[in-house]
């Protein structure tokens, strides 16, 4: 018995099913990289044969956060920086759901940075997509934690004095088990990477370069880009942490100089997901907790059985 029949259906899924008829067109600005994420995600979900109703997509606040308005599935458009804690609990409540979290660079690396680090180390089996446009889009163009040093904005009129944060390196140190960077301008790679990330068992982090033509005009549009898997100059083993770390460092530094490197950086297989770790320690029930409430045969324990300690 399952109370959740959208999960693991074998219906044929069409890509259009992921377009909400109720709001089929995004309000992103013309030329915005966010369209690229939406398209890649629709493509990936279709390729994976996912049912819109077995996906929970949790987003933060920002232009990027509107993804859940434009992608048809169960959605949770939460608050700024908190998509990950909402998402990972939903996964614990029902591990059979496909759980995706998404948000901007401000949302995920700024205000939400700590949740990012802690979710990564726990290795929850979910995918986190960060729309990295190196800017705060929705609030009209302020410096973000990935904006290059010297970047001028209304709140940093003299230019940012801060070194930008290194999202890939941080992710690896924190413990993400799949780390990749792709770009809106590279739709095929983006879709493939999302497919891999969703398939990956564990926490997968995709740093998605999304140009913001409205507020980040000076920044490169992320072209030309180099796919490090396609380019002999960047030959390294994505399963080797040390090599991955170097490639990430180089990629992050290169971007500040205007050179756009993308691709898979790290993939650790065989590491237990958080769910598996908890099972291992008898601190997680075998079947999804969410099902208990729909299961008439479930045996409900009661506190009356615990009173011995109080006599």
């Amino acid at each position: 018995m399952s109370a959740f029949n959208a999960i693991d259906t074998d219906r044929e899924i069409e890509q259009e099913e992921f377009t909400p008829e109720i709001e089929p067109q995004a309000t992103w600005c013309p030329g915005c990289g966010d369209f690229g994420v939406l398209k890649a995600l629709k493509g990936a979900a279709t390729e994976l044969g996912l049912d819109p109703e077995e996906i929970l997509l949790v987003t933060g606040i920002g232009c990027s956060g509107k993804l859940s308005s434009y992608f048809e599935s169960y959605g949770f458009h939460s608050i700024h920086g908190r998509s990950l804690p909402v998402a990972r609990a939903a996964k614990l409540a029902n591990p059979e759901l496909t759980v995706l979290a998404a948000g901007g660079d401000g949302d995920g690396y700024g205000i939400g940075g700590n949740h990012f680090m802690h979710t990564a180390r726990e290795n929850h089996d979910m995918t986190y997509i960060v729309f990295n446009n190196e800017i705060f889009g929705l609030t009209k163009g302020q410096t973000s934690p990935t904006s290059p040093k010297g970047h001028k904005s209304k709140t940093q009129p003299q230019g940012s004095a801060k070194d930008p944060l290194r999202p890939l390196s941080m992710s690896l140190s924190a413990g993400a088990s799949y780390v990749a960077r792709t770009a809106a301008v590279n739709p095929n790679q983006a879709k493939e990477i999302l497919v891999e990330a969703i398939q990956h068992d564990g926490f997968s982090h995709v740093d998605f370069l999304t140009q913001c033509p409205t507020w980040n005009k000076d920044a490169k549009q992320y072209v030309p880009y180099i796919d490090i898997q396609q380019n002999d100059e960047y030959d390294f083993d994505v399963t080797e942490r040390r090599e991955a770390a170097e490639a990430m460092y180089e990629t992050e530094s290169a971007l500040w100089e205007g050179k756009v490197l993308t691709g898979r950086y790290y993939q650790e297989d065989g590491r237990r997901t958080y769910h598996e770790e908890k099972m291992q320690q008898d601190s997680m029930p075998e079947s999804p907790i969410a099902e208990q409430y729909f299961d008439d045969d479930h045996e409900w324990k009661r506190s009356y059985d615990l009173l011995d300690a109080h006599r």
Binding site: A3, F4, N5, A6, P20, E21, I22, E23, E53, E54, L56, V58, I61, K66, S68, S69, E72, S73, Y74, G75, F76, H77, S78, I79, R82, P85, V86, A87, R88, A89, A90, K91, L92, A93, N94, L97, N114, H115, M117, H118, K278, D282, S283, M284, P285, I289, A290, Q292, Y293, F294, H298, W300, K301, R302, S303, Y304, L306, L307, H310, R311
Partner: protein, 606 residues
């Protein structure tokens, strides 16, 4: 009072086992047929520092800690700092004795460990005070007795033996309890210590009047704190997920839930901070599991933003707020009721939540269950507020009280079958937030259900959850969300008011209070109105400095200000009955309220 009650205080340093010793002592008295009540006092410090537990026992039910106390077992602080000039903490060694003298009633008993405290270390005026107050002082070398048979830490057991001898309590109960909890060899040495101390004291002169009352329980009793009761209420109501971050005193409920949830088929998560904790509770609830989180003071403050998210997305959740003395870190191990307004109003925009403030163990259980029920029926955050005082109070309750059915009902949640009949947008998206629904809540679906997809959004939204700033939709959604409170008020009025009124219907004077003493629920103001209508003057008793509960009543009713005086206490200790009596006299007779421990604020003249 001495004849029909015992108020026993055991004092020492943190980490000296005061807590567990007092708990066994309390259980022993409960097993002996008495009603019991404990009050705990401890510093924000892991080892050392003055701590005590007071145990009150009567033949009748006990509601409060009582006035003063009549038996001090002073054990010494083995982690005391050495005295040093100018150090503001003074001589910590003698504090287990000196800090406790002020409240000791006339004719009371003092047993102190002369193995830790030399006679010359006693305060100069000690003998004088003892004489003036007719205290009966027994210096006993408990430490040596303990060491003689076993280890030094067993001096607590020796103290209990001495107490039993002085009060003529049957050692049987203590032995039983020790046998249940200790390995054989430890048990044996403890019994030796117990009996030795008992024997030595039994031989002494007993010229005091303190005694243990007698009593008899009709049914079996259990001893619990409100933290236990909240935990059990949550478990019985089907809560299977908790996320939290430690913070005193919230940690108690969090720890208990963490220990029980795995065996109950649920999950407990300790996470990076309280913002995450509350957000996880929302995520799990959204995905179909009855969920809770909670914190204290500053940790609850961090939940302000997710709390608002729960309100607008109508995600059911129960939060526990275990209050302590504020503001900020304040006095982290001391009780206060200063968080009422914070809990009612924190988070931007109009609040839309239910707040319970249970007043004792039984209410804590009932109201926690009710909190879950309302949260899941009405899709609203429900907050159970309690405080350090309640979490430190152990009380006896009939075992039968807990013989209830668990509730697996997920509330206003549809099955896939029901979903197939429910209202959808033409595109197939489920209308989870309909404008008009009978009781306020619009039934929800759970991710993974066929036919239930919708968007939950912290932005104002259409019936399907899509972001909308349309003014008419806005008004409809706001009204529906706000109406839930009316429905809940009605529900509670019909089914369970959680408010109790005692005494004469025609009374001229009244006393009103909430929380640690009595329960209240936001918005359920009708009964309070009727009460205030009926009395001429009323004293409002609360543990904070700004009269928040009185303010709430005035806010809701806009009347009766000139009838309400306030008695406020915020020095870190709960009220004693005598303070309330004096405050009440000040209300009626206009006499001066003279205690420095609390503040009387007369009603504003008409």
């Amino acid at each position: 009072m001495t004849e029909n009650e015992l108020i026993w205080r055991i004092a020492g340093g943190s980490g000296d086992g005061i807590d567990s010793t007092s708990q066994n002592f309390t259980k022993a008295l409960m097993r002996a047929g008495l009603h019991v009540f404990t009050h705990r006092h401890y510093p924000s410090r892991i080892r050392g520092g003055h701590t005590y537990v007071e145990v009150r026992a009567r033949g009748e039910p006990v509601q409060s800690r009582g006035d003063g106390y009549n038996f001090l077992l002073s054990l010494g602080d083995s982690f005391a700092r050495n005295p040093q000039d100018d150090a503001y903490y003074g001589t910590e060694e003698v504090k287990p004795l000196t800090e406790n003298l002020e409240d000791l009633n006339e004719g009371g008993i003092v047993v102190y460990d002369s193995g830790l405290l030399d006679e010359e270390d006693l305060p100069e005026d000690f003998d004088e005070r003892a004489e003036a107050n007719d205290w009966h002082v027994y210096p006993l070398d408990l430490r040596s007795i303990a060491k003689e048979h076993g280890r030094e830490v067993m001096r607590n057991t020796a103290g209990v033996g001495a107490t039993a001898a002085l009060l003529d309590i049957d050692l049987r109960y203590f032995k039983e309890l020790m046998a249940e909890s200790m390995p054989e060899d430890v048990y044996e040495t403890n019994v030796d210590v117990l009996e030795d101390a008992h024997g030595r004291v039994a031989e002494m002169d007993h010229d005091h009047d303190v005694s243990v009352p007698t009593g008899d329980h009709e049914t079996e009793q259990v001893l619990l704190s409100a933290s236990n009761a909240i935990t059990y209420g949550a478990l019985d109501e089907g809560c299977r997920f908790i996320a939290g971050y430690p913070m005193t005193p919230w940690t108690e409920v969090f720890t208990l839930m963490s220990q029980h949830l795995p065996e109950f088929g649920g999950v407990a998560e300790q996470v990076e901070d309280e913002i995450a904790a509350a957000s996880l509770a929302l995520g799990a609830s959204h995905a179909g599991v009855k969920s809770m989180s909670g914190s204290s003071g500053g940790g609850f403050a961090l939940m302000s933003e997710p709390l608002g998210l729960a309100e607008i997305t109508e995600t059911p959740v129960v939060l526990v707020e275990a209050a302590r003395a504020g503001p900020s870190t304040g006095m982290p191990t001391k009780p206060e009721q200063g968080d009422l307004e914070h809990v009612l109003y924190t988070s931007q925009g109009d609040s839309n939540r239910v707040v319970f403030a249970p007043g004792n163990v039984a209410e804590a259980y009932e109201q926690t269950r009710k909190a879950f029920e309302l949260a899941y029926d009405y899709h609203i955050p429900a907050i159970v507020m309690y405080d350090q005082k309640l979490s430190g109070e152990l009380r006896n309750v009939d075992t039968d009280f807990f013989d209830r059915e668990p509730n697996p009902d997920p509330g206003a949640t549809l099955t896939e079958d029901e979903l197939s009949e429910a209202a959808h947008h033409a595109s197939g998206k489920f209308q989870r937030y309909q404008h008009d629904t009978p009781a306020g809540a619009s039934p929800r679906s759970i991710p993974g259900q066929r036919g239930g997809r919708f968007l939950a959004s912290g932005n104002e939204h259409t019936p399907e959850g899509h972001i909308s700033e349309d003014p008419d939709n806005r008004v409809a959604q706001m009204n529906r969300r706000m109406e839930k409170l009316d429905s809940i008020e009605q529900d509670l009025a019909e089914n369970a008011s959680h408010q109790s009124r005692r005494g004469d219907e025609d009374a001229t004077y009244g006393i009103m209070t909430f929380g640690s003493q009595q329960g209240t629920v936001e918005e359920a103001a009708e009964e309070i109105e009727a009460f205030l209508e009926s009395v001429d003057e009323c004293l409002v008793v609360e543990m904070n400095a700004s009269a928040q509960f009185k303010g709430l009543v005035q806010r809701e009713l806009g009347r009766f200000g000139p009838r309400m005086s306030s008695l406020l206490k915020y020095n870190g200790n709960p009220f004693e009955p005598a303070e309330i009596v004096e405050g009440f006299e000040a209300t009626i007779n206009g006499t001066e309220f003279e205690r420095p421990t609390a503040r009387f604020q007369p009603a504003a003249g008409d």
